[in-house]
């Protein structure tokens, strides 16, 4: 098992380094001079050149890359050109919206999907299964931002139960803050739950056809116990894979959903940064999200080993 974990760890680290190079290279070729941007159009060429030197923009490519990576490792992402504050402060403030949103959505999606998957698998081919899988089929086809608009129309415009958008901040109390995250979380979660439910169902059905399930039934275990204890555990590998992918997708998905609900999260920040050409902010957020995705995939790989003892013996 150590060999397996070590290999995954090395691959993750390698991917992270390559990804940082890609992000850095992309930002290098982008048009727009940050020094010029900070000083405005009226600055003289000498002033711009002086600031470029001061910002280290004239240093050799490799040096600037190492400097940037070194900064990232120390959580020093540099200063935003437009906000004139350290990027880390912006990120810290915004992540307090995006991360809870993604986590609530992930929890919601799992809470809905696993029971639906188990329900469907245990009634394979019957009316309940057909209905649930029909709903899932529909759920997969719904774009989350459109679903969000419909939710706003129903719950905020019509029923006036929750705010249509905006975020009061965690300082305003847990409940008002949570209340403005409910609709966005549902909008993110339901389409994901549809995918997860389908995966859970087909993984379970595959497992339920295995011999050891028949053995468990034959020794007199009730169906319910077999289903939840034996089958579900063995069906967890594909479910975990999808969960990992989904968390990555949810993090990216928040980018769009935050724009629907005017939530001050990382997604709003990255769009503002793009339009204002605040590249250091764009670069930092992209790198942060990519690192999160790589880390999650690594955790998923590790969790395989926990869920599936067979993997522990394998290289």
């Amino acid at each position: 098992m150590t060999a397996y974990l070590l290999k995954r760890l090395i691959i993750a680290a390698l991917t992270l380094v390559l990804a940082s190079m890609v992000v850095f290279a992309v930002m290098e070729v982008l048009p727009g001079d940050p020094a010029r941007l900070m000083l405005g159009l009226n600055a003289s060429a000498e002033q711009v050149e002086a600031l470029r030197n001061q910002m280290g923009l004239n240093a050799p490519l490799m040096l600037r890359y190492l400097h940037w990576v070194g900064g990232l490792l120390n959580l020093d992402f540099g200063r935003s050109y437009t906000y004139s504050v350290p990027v880390i402060d912006l990120v810290r403030e915004r992540i307090a919206v995006s991360l809870p949103l993604a986590l609530i959505a992930l929890a919601l999606s799992t809470i809905i999907a696993i029971p639906v998957g188990v329900f469907s698998a245990s009634r394979q081919g019957r009316a309940g299964d057909t209905l649930a899988m029909g709903a899932a089929q529909l759920g997969v086809a719904v774009p989350n931002f459109w679903f969000a608009l419909m939710l706003i129309y129903l719950f905020a415009v019509w029923l006036r139960l929750v705010p249509a958008g905006g975020f009061p901040g965690w300082g305003a109390g847990i409940w008002p803050a949570l209340k403005s995250l409910i609709l966005p979380a549902i909008a993110l979660a339901l389409p994901q739950a549809a995918i997860l439910g389908r995966v859970a169902r087909s993984a379970l059905i595959e497992v339920l056809n295995e011999d050891y399930i028949r053995t468990a039934r034959a020794k007199g275990l009730p169906y319910r116990a077999v289903l939840w204890r034996h089958a579900l555990r063995n069906a967890m590998i594909p479910v975990l894979t999808i969960l990992g992918l989904q968390f990555a997708f949810l993090l990216a998905g928040t980018i769009i959903i935050e724009n629907v609900f005017y939530l001050p999260g990382l997604g709003r920040l990255i769009f503002q940064a793009i339009t204002q050409r605040d590249l250091i902010v764009v670069e930092s957020i992209v790198m942060l999200l990519v690192a999160a995705v790589i880390l999650i995939n690594l955790l998923v790989d590790f969790s395989y080993a926990i869920v599936d003892p067979r993997l522990r013996g394998r290289q």
């Binding site: 086809a141 774009p143 129309y153 415009v157 769009i256 764009v282 992209v286 990519v290």
Partner: protein, 289 residues
Amino acid sequence: MTMRIDLPEETIAGVLAKALGNRSFLVGLIITLLIVAVALVSFVWTPYDVTKLVIADKTQPPSWAHWFGTDHFGRDILSMIMVGARNSIAVALVAVGIGMGIGVPLGAFAAARGGLADEALMRVNDLVFAFPALLSAIMITAIFGPGAVNAIIAIGIFNIPVFARVARAGALAIWPREFILAARAAGKGMTRITVEHILPNIATLLLVQGTIQFALGILAEAGLSYVGLGAQPPMPSWGRMLFDAQTRMVTAPWMAIFPGMAIVVTVLGLNLLGDGLADILDPKSRRRR
């Protein structure tokens, strides 16, 4: 000579009969053909001209004259959805083409060569997968500016590792077969075996994946257009229509409802088609059902 091993004792007639008996496939096919037909019809006829702004008719609710209502410029929503279908289909189709065109040769090559080439491909795959599609799209549009073409590139790039992975996995399963051994004994090279024996045998896998990626491409395009990174006005696109609708949810909800339903129906149709195809073409999934 190519060999088919996917459907051992099945004839074309047999597959057809199975297709006609598969509800998911039939419904999916009908919806997909309908959407394609609507997109094609929009080239020669739409109920109203989508390039003409009729301010007197702005934000009209659905009526006999305008089935799906009108937008804030007085344009007919139904006509815009018809024209928008072109954009969605074109973007998703080309993106799938990019993914297949580059991903399948890469995957097939990696499977044929194995070793270092294979390992390198899988690592590059990991790298691309680390960038959520939307994120890479944002980066690409940040470099080249927003537009339909850049949306295609962004979605297409994300499709490459998907097809590379499917092609590789499919090819790896075929290589140890006896008829491949026979082909090698006959002196055929790696490339020739791949083209003549491997590709025909993984074609059904690729077709199913292609349908899924097509549906995902339509969703991705809508998302990009919605945040302003896809097709630019005045070209009608479903995502853009939803963006315009967002600030008018209270006064003109139909502006959001119908373009969204167009996306849902299209994606649903493609997904049903993909599911049905997988059932018909893959003997294993039939048993599982």
